[in-house]
């Protein structure tokens, strides 16, 4: 039982159950929460954040981080809208190819120049964001094909849509790939210990660009589908998607220390955030509450995953224990106290004697 609780990929699903219960209680029998429309809206958001979170999560599994996904998302939306008016498929394909090329480029300069991913992808984020502004001319450009916009969002089986199905298939493929193939194992090995993996014969210099290519492609896919569904694209995006995507990956059990987390866990993390957002919306709270709750959850997970949290908690415990033990002085117990210890200093203070050791 305990092993289930400590399993990182299970954690988001426990959280999911807890949030469902809380929202159900908050709903209070009005019946606005448990509806197919809430499920549909959860999955629609899942389609947007999910693919970004998957790409980011994969980059975090190899102990890097791909901040450029936010810029890639807005730029690929622009590419798809500008080129996909005649053939919607062509627009998506061009955007995805661009995402792959850019991801390969970022991964390659990281490997060749031995650069950290934060710097490179931060530069990538700013460059891609700038490119999106240049391509759109700082305007919001509209997509003329309303039929495509409707088709992408048309409900399938009540709760799914083309977009959310694409996202789910991407997750299933990634889950299979990471769990069942040799390359998947190699990706985990690269993230757990880069040098050891290299020594063991993993081609880490190929894995890193490949993972960044994947994350670029996933971000491009998400961006182009989102722009189709909104029938518009613009250069403004940046952090709006970055925070929820990173939050989803972290809640889903991915560690920034690398080598941990699974696509299935990330699905759970994304669903937690989407459920929170849609559920709070359904029961009628202002959108800012969603920000607060997301931030709060992310904050708590960050503290729970912190390196020194155990040490600090132990220090607090010890402090309380010493406070408790000090009461012995009141009842007059005189134990031998090692000089210099808290007990000794306290005893000295109480007896007003000159201290032997400062």
């Amino acid at each position: 039982m305990l092993s289930v609780l400590t399993n990182r990929s299970v954690r988001p699903y426990l959280l999911l159950v807890a949030i469902t219960v809380v929202l159900w209680i908050l709903d209070g029998g009005r019946g606005v929460f448990f509806t197919t429309s809430t499920a549909f809206s959860v999955l629609q958001q899942f389609a947007t954040i999910g693919l970004i979170a998957l790409g980011l999560g994969l980059s975090m599994i190899i102990r890097e981080i791909d901040l450029s996904v936010a810029g890639m998302m807005s730029l690929s939306g622009c590419i798809a809208v500008l080129t996909g008016a005649g053939q919607p498929g062509l627009g998506v394909a061009l955007a995805v190819v661009f995402g792959m090329v850019w991801g390969l480029f970022q991964g390659a300069i990281m490997v060749w120049l031995r650069l950290g991913s934060i710097g490179v992808t931060l530069g990538g984020l700013l460059t891609l964001g700038g490119l999106a502004y240049v391509v759109t001319g700082n305007l919001s450009i509209s997509y003329p094909r309303m039929d495509v916009a409707l088709a992408v969002n048309h409900p399938v089986l009540e709760i799914f849509s083309l977009r959310s199905l694409v996202a789910l298939i991407a997750f299933l493929a990634a889950a299979f790939f990471m769990a069942r193939t040799r390359v998947g194992r190699d990706v985990y090995a690269t993230g757990s210990d880069h040098r050891a993996a290299m020594v063991a014969g993993v081609r880490t210099s190929a894995i890193v660009p490949a993972v960044f290519a994947c994350s670029g492609m996933l971000a491009a896919l998400a961006g182009s589908l989102l722009s189709y569904s909104l029938a518009a694209a613009s250069g403004v995006a940046l952090t709006d998607v970055l925070v929820p995507a990173i939050a989803a990956a972290i809640i889903g059990g991915v560690s920034l220390m690398g080598g941990r987390g699974t696509p299935i866990g990330i699905v759970g993390g994304v669903l937690v955030l989407c459920l929170l957002s849609s559920g709070l919306n359904a029961i009628g709270t202002p959108p800012a509450v969603h920000d607060v709750v997301t931030g709060g959850v992310l904050f708590l997970v960050a503290i729970a995953d912190a390196i020194d949290i155990d040490r600090r908690l132990f220090a607090v415990q010890r402090y309380w224990r010493e406070m408790f033990l000090r009461r012995d002085d009141h009842i007059g117990l005189t134990k031998p106290r090692p000089p210099g210890s808290v007990y000794h200093k306290e005893a000295v203070r109480r007896s007003n004697a000159t201290p032997l050791i400062k």
Binding site: I65, I109, L113, R114, L115, G116, I118, G119, V120, L122, G123, G124, L125, L126, T127, L128, G129, G130, L131, Y133, V134, T136, G137, N138, G235, L238, T239, L242, V243, I246, A247, I250, L256, P286, A288, V289, H290, D291, V292, V293, T294, G295, G296, L298, F299, V301, A302, I303, D305, A306, I307, D308, I309, R312
Partner: protein, 325 residues
């Protein structure tokens, strides 16, 4: 063959601190060439060296400069960057405007305390618990944005009187935002170079474990760095709120990215432990000059966004030369 690398020149050595490795010298040459190219471009652009254009350049730099100096403390301490300095700017601006009825000085103190408190909480979590700085700052971004929107109900705050008009004036002929930037840079540089805290900050940033082994309390130093960053953000918030006569969550949008760009372009290492406030100011200036040059030469403002991105990417790639990549 790699050059014989000697230990870098010590602090008491007042010769030009040229690096001993060829790579390092190439890097210095590239930096000088880039600055020279920028100066030539500026000189050949009509209308750049006019008082109006220079003052507007200084004015825009003053806000980004303040935030960039705050960000420098965080970057130096080894915590990469914060995504929450922009919202710290906005919220301290709101606090400043809201507290103005108490008087100018109390309002400024309130805003500074508020900004420092916001980042201090993050500093505690990052320093004492060693939580991931990127995640914590993103959580703080969402939390602060949400709470501030709930409290202000998404509306801006406007001052009743015109106490803040004083901050739009000039001191000794220098606009107050520029004067505040200069004061911030000087204070920050003195703190970094000549105080115990500053030296400890460099040590913690370059090697946390070594700092711990040397008997420092790295957590306290990181907390200090975050408080300094909050104070700088609050200074920028006060100046901005005074300039636009309003406190609004929109004020700080985009400043996190601009600030980290300035820090990196200035040559502060993203891995921490190397850099200075002056460098970040230089970075902010270089970016601002590039923007003005592009604007004066008839490029659209979209190109500016792209240019910043490309410059940051190039600078980060050049840094491997310095590290001996």
């Amino acid at each position: 063959m790699k050059d014989q690398t000697l230990p870098s020149t010590s602090r008491d050595d007042w010769r030009l601190p040229l690096p001993h490795s060829t790579r390092g010298r190439v890097l210095v040459a590239i930096r000088f060439a880039a600055v020279l190219a920028l100066i030539i471009a500026a000189a050949s652009t009509p209308g750049f060296f006019t008082t109006v254009s220079l003052f507007s350049l200084l004015n825009t730099t003053s806000f980004i400069g303040c935030i960039a100096i705050g960000m420098t403390f965080i970057t130096l301490s080894g915590n990469i960057m914060s995504f929450a300095l922009g919202v710290t700017l906005s919220t301290s601006g709101i606090v400043f405007i809201a507290a103005l009825p108490l008087g100018l000085i109390p309002a400024m103190i309130a805003a500074l305390t508020f900004g420092a408190a916001l980042t201090a909480v993050q500093g505690v979590v990052i320093g004492y618990f060693r939580a991931n700085p990127i995640i914590v700052s993103m959580a703080a971004l969402a939390l602060i944005t949400g709470c501030a929107t709930l409290i202000t109900q998404g509306r801006g705050v406007y001052p009743a009187g015109d106490e803040a008009a004083l901050l739009k004036g000039r001191v000794l002929g220098v606009p107050i935002p520029v004067a505040a930037l200069i004061v911030t840079v000087v204070v920050a540089q003195i703190v970094l170079s000549f105080t115990q805290f500053g030296r400890q900050l460099y040590m913690v940033g370059s090697n946390w474990r070594a700092a711990l082994a040397a008997g420092l309390e790295p957590a306290r130093v990181v907390l200090g760095a975050y408080i300094a960053a909050g104070l700088c953000a609050a200074v920028a918030g006060i100046l901005m709120a005074a300039r636009y006569s309003s406190g609004d969550m929109e004020l700080g949008i985009g400043y996190d990215y601009n600030a980290i760009s300035a820090v990196l372009v200035g040559g502060t290492a993203i891995s921490g432990g190397e850099g200075s406030a002056i460098r970040s100011l230089t970075g902010a200036f270089i970016i601002a000059v590039c923007q003005v040059l592009l604007l004066l030469n008839g490029f659209s403002s979209q190109i500016q966004f792209l240019a910043i991105g490309v410059i940051v990417l190039l600078v980060i790639m050049l840094q491997t030369l310095a590290d001996g990549g």
